[in-house]
């Protein structure tokens, strides 16, 4: 077989261009030409790696999720010693907030993709399963924290996890719109967490 190129790497480069455009001007502005220009390649190349615009968007949505997972993984060690469920929980909640430029870009692009997911079963299911995973993990940490005496023992972990996740979801839009500073958003999370102890 001729010419060795990393297909997935190429796809990723193109997908990142998609996300930059979506973050800046919305999914409406994502066209094959714009993507090619943003990525600095020919539209022939874009077509070579994605048979259709739709497949390209699906792949880009997958990239968004990978970004999120990286962000969480990067935030967790900073939570301090391992097996500190309350600190881990806080770290994940903070990691989900769009606090820096990359975070904001991903959150904007994510919001744009979410709109599309509302009308497409395949994408919606990916959002659903991803969220279920996070809620389950958070609920587990809440349980652990309660067992360790870091939190009250009478709280419903699943319910509190849903509250916290909805809270960060709302805070994310508030941050994007400039309603809160990053410090305020984190303070709100800490405020809510403190109530659970």
């Amino acid at each position: 077989m001729p010419r060795r190129v990393d297909h997935d790497e190429r796809r990723r480069q193109i997908a990142e261009a998609v996300l930059r455009i979506a973050a800046g001007r919305g999914l409406e502005a994502v066209s094959m030409r714009e993507v090619a220009a943003e990525a600095g390649v020919s539209i022939g190349r874009v077509q070579h790696y994605f048979a259709s615009k739709d497949q390209m968007l699906v792949f880009a949505a997958g990239r968004l999720r990978e970004h999120l997972e990286q962000r969480i993984r990067r935030g967790l060690p900073a939570a301090g010693p391992p097996h500190a469920p309350l600190r881990s929980l806080r770290a994940v909640l903070v990691a989900l907030l769009p606090l820096d430029r990359d975070g904001r870009e991903d959150a904007r692009a994510g919001a744009a993709v979410l709109i599309r997911a509302l009308g497409e079963a395949e994408l919606a299911e990916r959002y659903r399963s991803g969220r279920s995973d996070i809620v389950a993990t958070m609920a587990e940490w809440l349980r652990s924290a309660a067992d360790a005496g870091e939190l009250r023992g009478d709280l419903d972990p699943g319910l509190e996890a849903s509250v916290l996740l909805a809270l960060v979801g709302g805070l994310a839009s508030d941050l994007l719109l400039g309603h809160h500073t990053p410090e305020q958003a984190i303070a709100i999370i800490d405020h809510q967490l403190k109530r659970l102890s």
Copy 2:
């Protein structure tokens, strides 16, 4: 002056078509032709009432806000006797959730418009001011409820209002994605409210 037609009524009819399309297939699917077809009028008419697509979208965004105000006004009386700040607060929070079909449609369209607002100063400012009004009102009710002994006296009304509003914002997306049933979403709000007493 000839021919008497209600300009604003015509504009509203067209804007409703815009919102239906945006809710169903996103802002990408909103074209002058599609809007005209959805509204059952000629594209000439659409052009006659909106000099550009952009003006049409801005007007439609304004309609969304009016929908929201109507929903709140309609929800408030059901809160029971007047001057019941805690019940009023709960009524507004519930009214902000996309629980019925109209609510879901508006929430979807609102999300689509919000994406665009993130990149346009004019729209973003409208979102900001609208939110500030709601937070201020909610904070006032929290204060009243605390004074009336319905809530704890040591809470920070502005902070709690921000928490509650972020919570309903997150719950709104969760509802749209099917993470929660309407009953679950309301239960989450009540759970959080109960904690303030």
